[in-house]
Amino acid sequence: MKKVVMGTEAAALAVKLARVQVISAYPITPQTVIVENLSDIIGRGELNAKYMPVESEHSAMASCIGASLAGARAFTASSSQGLVYMHEMLHYAAGARVPVVMVNCNRALAPPWNLYCDHTDSLAQRDTGWGQYYCADAQDVLDAILIAYNVAEQALLPVMINMDAFYLTHTSEPVDVPDQKAVDIFLPSYQPSSKLDVDDPKTFGNVCGADLFTSIKYKRHCDTLSLEKLWDRAAVRFCGYFSRLHPTVEAYQTEDADVCIIGIGTATGAMRLAVDRLREEGLKVGSLRLAMIRPFPRGGFEKATANVGHVIVIDRDVSFGAEGIVAQELKAILFDRHEDVRLTGFVAGVGGNDISVETIVPLVRQAIFGDGTAAEAGSTLWAEVLP
C-alpha cells in the first residue's frame, strides 16, 4: 500500500511491521516524530510492545540491551547530542552481541547549536562496533530497518540506520508500505540462542582475563566484517519478497568513469544529477553511494571503482585535525590496493547547507582542474566558507 509519509513516519511504520517488543527512547529533534508515532501506535493497540520513556539516551540504550538480552526485539532512536550521550552503551551493545536496531537522525553537534544535517554524530560512533547504514530516501528507511533486524539477529550485532535530518526526517514522499504477512515471513520473530533465563542461569558481560579476551574480540571482529555479505544476501532476499533492492553500495555510471563522486546519505541523489550534468560537458564522471560504512563495503566499492583514477569525496562531516571521515575510510581502502588513485576530499553541507547539483559541479571542476573557491585546510577543501 502506498502512503505519503515523512522519513520519520516511515521509520515508525517499519518498527511496527518488525513487531518490535521493547522501545526505549528519549526524544530529540529531529528524531522526536519517530518516537511520538511509535507511542501513538502502541497507544492505539496496533503494536504489542513495551514503551519505556526513559530519562536519558544512555538509559535508552541500556534498557534496549537488557531487553534484548532477555530475548526481546528492541528498538531506539536518537540524534546528535543524544547519540553521543549513549556512546558508552553503544560499545556495550556491540560487545554484548545484542541485535538491537536503532535509527539515528544525522544532526550537527553543538556548539554552536544547530538542528540540521551533519554526519559527524554517527560517524564518530564508527568504532563502537555497530553496523552503520545511511539511507537515501524514506522507502530506504522503511526497508532498511526490516533488513537490519534480519541481519542483526543473524550476526548477533547491533545495527544503526542513519537518516539525514530534515532532508529525510521531515520530507514527505510516497512510500510503499509492505504487507504485514509478507514482512512476518521475511522477518520471523527473534529466537535468541542465548538469553537471560532464571531457569538456565548464566552471567552476561562478566569479567574475563586477557587469555580469552583477545579471542572474543577477534571473533567479534570477524563477525562484524561478515555483516557486509549478510546485508547484501538479506537485501537480495528482501528484493525477492518486495521487489526493491537495497545493496551496501549503489553505483551510478561508474563502468566507464575516470572520476567517481562518492558520498553518503541523501546528497547522493544530487550527485547522480551532477554526473548527468558533467557528462554533458564531456567529463567521464560516475558516482557511488556508500549505503554501508561499517563494516566498510569493500567488495562493492572495489567493483564499482576498479577503473577509476580519481575519487572525489564529499563529506558532510569532519574529523577535526584530520579530514573528512569518509575520505579517511576511502584512503585506507585505496592504500591496500597499491594503485595510483587520486583522492580529493571536500567538506560540504555541514550544519544543514543543501548539497545541490550547483554545489557539486563546481567542486568536481575544482578537483579536476584545480580552480575553485573551496578553502584548503590540510588535505581537505571546505566549500561554503567565508572568504
Binding site: R97, S194, T203, F204, N206, Y218
Partner: protein, 404 residues
C-alpha cells in the same frame, strides 16, 4: 585469573560473552566504606510508651497469625494488659506515623483485644534463687514489681492489708475499672509469676515472726498501701526512674509529683516503675549474696529510636477508610477488627521481612538467612552502595561506618 578450562578453540567460545561460572571469587566487599546494618529500632509508638512495649513486634505477630507469641511478648513488657488496654491514655498513638497517611492505629484497642483473649501463656522464667521478697501493697506498681521478681526466680509474697487486691485501682468507680477484670488480671499475673498473694493481712513491722520478718527484701508499694502506713526503720526512698541502685533491704519507691496522687490513666507509668524497682531489688539481692545481678542497661546498646523521616510513607497505601465512629467505638473489638487494624501498622523501625532490600540489591548481597527469619548482609560481596537502606520503607537498614 580464571583458567580457560573447557574452552580450547574459537568455536567453543559463546558468541555472547557469558558464563555459567560463579562470580563469588570476586570479593567486592573490600570496596565498601559504608556497611548496611540491619537492626530493629524503637518505633516512635514504643518510644513513647511508658512501659516500652515493642508494639510493632507484637502487631507483626498478630498479623502473621502468631497470636500466642504476640500475647507472650505483650505480657513480658506489661503484666496488666487488660487494664492498660482500658485505662491507659495511650501516648503511643500520639506518635503513630500512620497519621501521615490516614489516621493513627488504635493500638489500645488491639492491646485490649489481645489481652482479653485470656489464653494461657508461657513466660520465660529464671531459675529459683531461694530468696524471699515481700511486696507490701498490691497496686499496679507492687504487682508489676512482684511479677518481674517472680519471673526472675525469687519467691515473692504480696501482702495487702485490704480484703481486695488491686491497691489504688480498687478505689476507682466500677465504670472505670471493672472489678471482675481487675480480679482476673491479678490472678493471671500471680499464676504466671508464681507469686503468693495474701489479702486482709495486718502488716506490722514491729511484730516480727511473720512473712515480713522472714523476707530478704521488702518493697513498699506506694500505689498499694496508704501513706498512713508508717515506713519501718531502715526504709530507703528510691526513685525508680532516676536512682541507679537501692542500697537497702527495705525499698520504698518514691514517685515524682506527676504520678501523685494515683491516676488510673497513668497506669503504664506505675507498671514501668514497678519493673525498674524490681531490677534494683534484684541487683540488691544479688549483690548481697555475691551473685551477679542484672547488668545495668548500657545506653549504647539500647535500641535507637527510628528516625521518622526514614519511614517512607510513599511505600504504603491508604487503607480503606473506617468510619470515625467505628474507629472510636467503645468496648471490645473482635478478632477481625483487631487484625484489620494490626495490618495497618507500618512496622516503623521493625523488619517485617518485606524483602524490599533483597529485591533491590544489585549484587545479591543482602538476603534471608537460612532460617528465613532475618535479613543478613554478605560482607564479602556487599559494595556498600546503600540502595538497601534507601529502599527500606521502615528505617531498619542504615548505612554505618564500621571499622575493621
Amino acid at each position: 585469573m580464571q583458567s580457560r578450562k573447557g574452552i580450547e578453540s574459537l568455536s567453543e567460545l559463546p558468541i555472547m560473552p557469558s558464563t555459567i561460572g560463579t562470580m563469588a571469587w570476586n570479593q567486592t566487599g573490600d570496596w565498601r566504606y559504608l556497611t548496611p546494618v540491619v537492626a530493629n529500632k524503637l518505633a516512635p509508638c514504643s518510644q513513647n510508651c511508658p512501659a516500652g512495649i515493642p508494639i510493632p513486634i507484637y502487631l507483626n505477630a498478630l498479623k502473621n497469625g502468631r497470636i500466642q507469641s504476640g500475647l507472650d511478648l505483650l505480657l513480658a513488657h506489661n503484666p496488666l494488659p487488660r487494664l492498660t488496654g482500658r485505662l491507659c491514655y495511650h501516648p503511643c498513638q500520639a506518635r503513630c506515623v500512620r497519621r501521615k497517611i490516614d489516621r493513627t492505629i488504635s493500638i489500645q484497642k488491639i492491646e485490649r483485644f489481645l489481652a482479653d483473649l485470656g489464653t494461657d501463656v508461657t513466660i520465660e522464667k529464671g531459675k529459683k534463687t531461694g530468696k524471699q521478697v515481700a511486696v507490701i501493697g498490691s497496686g499496679p506498681l507492687g504487682l508489676s514489681c512482684a511479677f518481674y521478681l517472680g519471673c526472675w526466680g525469687h519467691q515473692v509474697v504480696v501482702l495487702d492489708p485490704r480484703n481486695q487486691a488491686g491497691g489504688a485501682l480498687v478505689d476507682r468507680s466500677p465504670e472505670k475499672v471493672d472489678s471482675q477484670v481487675l480480679a482476673d488480671e491479678i490472678s493471671r499475673l500471680i499464676r504466671l509469676a508464681d507469686i503468693k498473694l495474701e489479702t486482709g493481712v495486718v502488716v506490722d513491722f514491729d511484730a516480727p515472726g511473720n512473712v515480713v520478718s522472714k523476707a530478704d527484701l521488702i518493697i513498699l508499694d506506694p500505689t498499694g498501701v496508704s501513706e498512713d502506713l508508717r515506713a519501718p526503720v531502715g526504709a530507703v526512698g528510691v526513685n525508680p526512674f532516676d536512682d541507679e541502685a537501692a542500697n537497702s533491704d527495705i525499698i520504698a519507691p518514691r514517685l515524682s509529683q506527676n504520678l501523685k496522687p494515683f491516676k488510673a490513666p497513668m497506669i503504664a507509668h506505675y507498671i514501668a516503675a514497678g519493673r525498674l524497682t524490681a531490677q534494683k531489688a534484684f541487683n540488691r539481692l544479688a549483690m548481697c549474696s555475691g551473685q551477679q545481678g542484672l547488668a545495668p542497661p548500657n545506653p549504647d546498646l539500647l535500641p535507637q529510636t527510628v528516625n521518622t523521616d526514614d519511614i517512607k510513607i510513599e511505600h504504603f497505601s491508604s487503607s480503606a477508610p473506617v468510619a470515625e465512629a467505628e474507629a472510636q467505638q467503645e468496648g471490645a473489638w473482635n478478632h477481625e477488627r483487631a487484625l484489620h487494624e494490626a495490618e495497618r501498622c507500618l512496622s516503623c523501625g521493625t523488619c517485617d521481612l518485606c524483602l524490599q532490600c533483597v529485591s533491590f540489591c544489585p549484587d545479591a548481597s543482602i538476603k534471608l538467612d537460612e532460617d528465613k527469619t532475618a535479613v543478613i548482609v554478605d560482607e564479602y560481596h556487599c559494595k556498600g552502595c546503600g540502595i538497601c537502606a534507601y529502599e527500606c520503607p521502615r528505617g531498619v537498614v542504615t548505612m554505618e561506618t564500621i571499622s575493621g
